[in-house]
Subunit: 337 residues, 4 copies
């Protein structure tokens, strides 16, 4: 059985963010009793991201979040490290690991050169994970980098290990869509949503599930990180427009961007890079004409919605701290009439 | 036959934006051959909006639009005229009318006092309406004000006369939702969307309609203006959060915030006003606690989706310039198997 | 006697915004008793701005203003008409004139094609000008276009006719600075500031002037529009950064961005254009490396400060409505010990 | 000899940010050979900042910076920890310390309750400090808290230990101004500027210093963090307006917001707090009328300029890594003719 399919656009060969350019994804998963958490990294290209920076922009759909690095991305239109995802309280450890990696690669960093801008996204996995332990270490980030591959697992892995979505098991999901000669890939860390609003590929599943339910359910305390990658040549302003469309895909799953949900999107392109050193030539890159963005916007919304569905679909049940557990979407579907 | 119902929250007595406070809505409709356009006004309270300003904030979901007044609303957190909606090329005439109305009420304006900030929203009705005629006059604005009532018509009226949505007849729609002792009202000027993406209360109607279609359809060249009113006491920052949720309701109808679509939301509260004169007391208003916003967010998304559905549902067929016409949603529904 | 010189960078041949590319500036000045106002236009290149759009971005330093067109500039990163400046209540007339000009040039506009985005900036000249008369007509805009030249007058002309700055006569000022093979030009509409804060090329002139003064002076009710043009190849994000530096030049003249002052900057480049039609090739333009922006930032701040000084310096005394008049900076300087 | 005085408004009793409410400031200074760095904390009130959150807003004047916490401050309009300042590479350690402090105070945090939003600002002190050692530990943050007092030292202390400004020794500076019954306090971490642009209380000192200089000087690689506190009752939108005025004070010292300088301002009020728990009453606080903000804007610009001057004035010479050292402003002034 495959996960429900979103939209009519074709997916790339892997239906994953790694269908775009040379993108690779790596996980470290911590599964030790009450510690159910991890790190996921997205490596944007096979070179050195500090030397060859990646054009990017973000859209903060709801800013109840603690991700770091976006102020500089917004100003300079690039990022310069692998992208890291983890739990809310482990951002400090992971950003330190990013700093040390960049220092190791560049002895001038923090001396003749300026510093590096860590880029770490987070969601709060505190329902399943004993987040107060700050269990993630710098070493976990390095291991996630070492694990990176174009082929990678979805669901209850990496940063997604302890995440919940729609009061079910959430986690990491990915997808891709091809349109007009370009590919748009998505990777999400899904940790949001109230079950009664869950809409699965257009089906109001949440209402079916909760029809006979008595209690009030949980408030939407989670968050979602939504990464969009494309090989289309876009500048930072256009990438901001693309990032904004993540919200459309998210809304179609039932979210209204809840107060307590840090709903944050980052879009980047692999079509060209920006050199760190000013004596290196700047790319003479013709960007896409603005009117050619619409197909990419549809692809982005579909890829995000698909990635969310995939996160739910591939999630395995997790038993976490204090006996907390989350059912999975597939369990639920099996039990429905 | 009634329009499909969105969500489970109860509507107010009119299922209209006028369920909030003393809000009234007035239309002027121009229906003269190729001239199919008009003006719609939303009067926020029964007093003088310049003397007692209305707390508000906007969310520019896609900024391909020519609305005026939002820079100052964003800075000062209030507006100070009735809200006007019209076609893209008539913004100048309507803003002049707003200025003259404010001057008539306040002889000091532009002399001892500063000026007034016109607030005019627009969509491009050029498919049905001969927009190049700049047919709207200042007098039309005044007539729309005079026509204002808590009971008002939806569909192909006022600013909505010439609008198209999903390649069908669009226009003015309204709705309201009640939650936690507060009401959220919505009024939209719907002029957006490609038919194949139309989702009607969760039903993928657009795909059903276009299943046997050969041609490519039209690009999304329209726009949507989304007004949200509430009687909950919110400050400008909280109103911006509410405005942002209009995007969730919009996305559920099938929009991905198309490149050419000016998707703009304004949220305001009727719970208190801000005096123009500094010698008048400022309101000692306790705002809603942030965690109490979630129910309002759900109400806002539902009210916006319902208002869009209502705009389509109540639209009458319009024959416009050069023989252009738009079918209505109800026609389509009657013909479907 | 020449105006005081700001900074150490060389000016272009005209010390004017028209040192950049093919920029031309035109004025219409209305001088009829209580009517002391006008229109100024900045024509960005010698071609058709709708067909070949100009990359641009804005910085809203204080948004108490009624300028129109910036929402779309922010979204799309271009403008597509000449830039117009006028008084606050004449924005409607001038935007209509811009629409009619674009319609005349493009019969498809508002029919097969979408609409045009008017770009009109304003300040409130109501102290000298009887702004309530809405004296500017569409014809005035066309005349200003016809008057445009690379050589143009500063001071109490065009949109600057009725403006006040630092309780002195303000108006139109311009300047340019050359650095690193590029030119940065500035044009301001100066209508802001309290006299006691006036700082003229570093000299605390305002304190000298008001040392023997008894009264409280006037609150800062004005505004300033600051245009920055450059021939350096910058994208919209970089142009936003440049626009932001207008605030540094402004602050050095004594402004703290007063509550009632609409302080708005627009930066644009003449290095390349963006075609309206998607079948025309997009420019394969290498942008400036980010680290090469600093010299431009210094040039921008100096050019803005110089343009403000020039607006004051070139202002002629104006006798306006109800016997209101403004002294000029040169009068003041002659009387100081 | 006292530091040059900025403006004409009176200072509070301490001429320090601690003139506002119950604000206290604490430092930890690391002075061990090449390690010249530290932590400074600003405690906003004597209660628990998580339980009683502080209304705040930021202005990112130039976003080349790695501060954390601002996304959530922007969304929710409050912060909920003491404010911390440190070097760029120590943000991770300090944010972890903030998390642990909040966890210790609130056992429900990360379990029944959501998480906490760390708020850490940074500048790059890598010229004097061996920043690659990541020398700051979590314990240093706690010690800085313990050291906090309304009376505190300025200059080469705390986070300011290794900072440079205008190629001189920079660091921590503070000031306050009183106007209209309210106080505005400022605290800066000054680490920005090229010496030739240094303007000291209106005197173009940088040009005097560099008149006989041959070399090119250093590019502006630094940053400045600018905190503004007031006891005036302002909401988050108004506090954003206040924060924006920090840029005016900064520009008057000679900055044009250099490309490489993370120029970031945060404004907060001590007039009221926002309870964490929704069952606690929200404050029924009348805010200041908008027209009463102008005096505060002048006070904010003056306080920021004074705080920058004070940072330079109070700086002691520091000998750092690899024999790097910075002269102080007072040394320079003594040697000038």
């Amino acid at each position: 059985m495959n996960s429900p399919r979103i939209g009519t656009l074709p997916a790339g060969p892997r239906d994953a963010i790694s269908d775009v350019g040379e993108i690779r994804v790596g996980h470290v998963t911590l599964d030790r009793g009450g510690i159910q958490t991890g790190v996921t990294v997205v490596i944007p290209h096979s070179g050195d991201p500090f030397a060859e920076k990646i054009p990017a922009a973000s859209a903060v759909i709801n800013g109840f979040g603690k991700s770091v690095g976006l102020i500089q991305v917004e100003e300079l239109g690039v990022f310069e490290t692998p992208i890291a995802l983890t739990n809310t309280f482990s951002v400090g450890a992971v950003m330190q690991a990013q700093i040390r990696e960049a220092m190791a690669a560049h002895p001038k960093l923090g001396r003749e050169w300026a510093t590096v801008n860590p880029l770490v996204f987070e969601c709060n996995d505190g329902f399943l994970n004993d987040i107060r332990t700050l269990a993630v270490t710098e070493e976990h980030y390095r291991t996630a980098l070492a694990n990176a591959s174009a082929d990678f697992v979805q669901g209850s892995v990496g940063a997604g290990r302890g995440m919940s979505a729609f009061e079910l098991k959430g986690g990491i999901g990915t997808a891709s869509r091809c349109v007009g000669g370009h590919t748009v890939g998505a990777l999400v860390l899904a940790n949001f949503g109230r079950i009664e609003t869950l809409t699965l590929a257009g089906r109001p599943l949440g209402r079916e599930i909760t029809a006979r339910r008595k209690d009030e359910g949980e408030p939407d305390k989670g968050s979602i990180i939504m990464l969009l990658a494309t090989d289309a040549p876009l500048d930072a302003r256009q990438l901001r427009r693309l990032a904004q469309r993540a919200g459309a895909g998210l809304a179609r799953t039932g979210s209204v961007f809840g107060h307590g949900s840090g709903d944050i999107a980052l879009a980047f392109t692999t079509a060209y890079t920006i050199p760190h050193l000013p004596n290196r030539p700047m790319p003479a890159q013709a960007m896409l004409h603005e009117t050619r963005l619409d197909p990419l916007f549809f692809a982005a919304a579909d890829a995000i919605e698909q990635a969310i569905v995939n996160a739910l679909w591939h999630a395995e049940p997790v038993l976490g701290r204090d006996g907390h557990k989350r059912r999975t979407l597939r369990e639920i579907l099996r039990r429905l009439p």
